[in-house]
Symmetry: D2
Subunit: 78 residues, 4 copies
């Protein structure tokens, strides 16, 4: 579940290892560029944390963030 | 199944779409660099074809190729 | 220079090593997905070869291919 | 310049755009996996921030971190 806190949509993802985490990041990178809407994200080994907000709207959560969150969720489907 | 033909180990991989195929390629790239043993590979949209052989051994299939093939197989496990 | 041959736009790219070649491929992957227009490409170590044609137009070179070729060229600029 | 602060080696990198930043991240990911030593890192659009420390040594800066920092620096050379 994505949580909305501090005017950001946030979710933490955990994977088996770094390779799987980075492959996920590559797919998120592609989606982000397709939307021209980029996350703030952090990675350490198997963990990726993502925060989404819309800078141009004054750093709040907008439909753009919800749309990117949905696209990221779809990447997790088998 | 990897096939051995023309002194190469060969396998074709198919994915749901380009994003999934390229994420797989990123993981293979990491394994290849870790072994310092690089594939000949081709991609078009959801399809990745890989040929493995060992240049330094005279372009034949060696244990290095079998080891990289095994590592690539492991990437496919859920 | 991209060459037009056999109804494809073709160019070979060479880099210092695999890591640099694969970083380039990641950038091309992003551009391809943004255009929803994907190359046929081959990599072995420091070499990337790209062939562009438009399947929906009957596998000939169209403006879509020229546009993607231009975007790939721009990636090479310092 | 990498700075040592709070028992971490830290550096901020800035690029022309997201695509260039993510290509750099892909190269760092490969080096990290080769050393089996992974950064804490953050990205937002064209900016990548990296913090290096050695968990197994009690979260302090060790030679492993200096070695990975050097490898990352080498990626920036033209």
């Amino acid at each position: 579940m994505w949580e909305e806190k501090n005017n950001k949509l946030y979710k933490k993802f955990q994977f088996k290892n770094f390779s799987e985490a980075f492959a996920f990041m590559t797919r998120v990178a592609i989606e982000a560029e397709k939307m021209d809407h980029h996350p703030l994200w952090t990675n350490v080994w198997n963990t990726v944390e993502i925060w989404l907000s819309t800078h141009d709207a004054g750093d709040i959560v907008t439909d753009k963030d919800r749309k990117l969150a949905d696209k990221i969720e779809k990447l997790m489907e088998p």
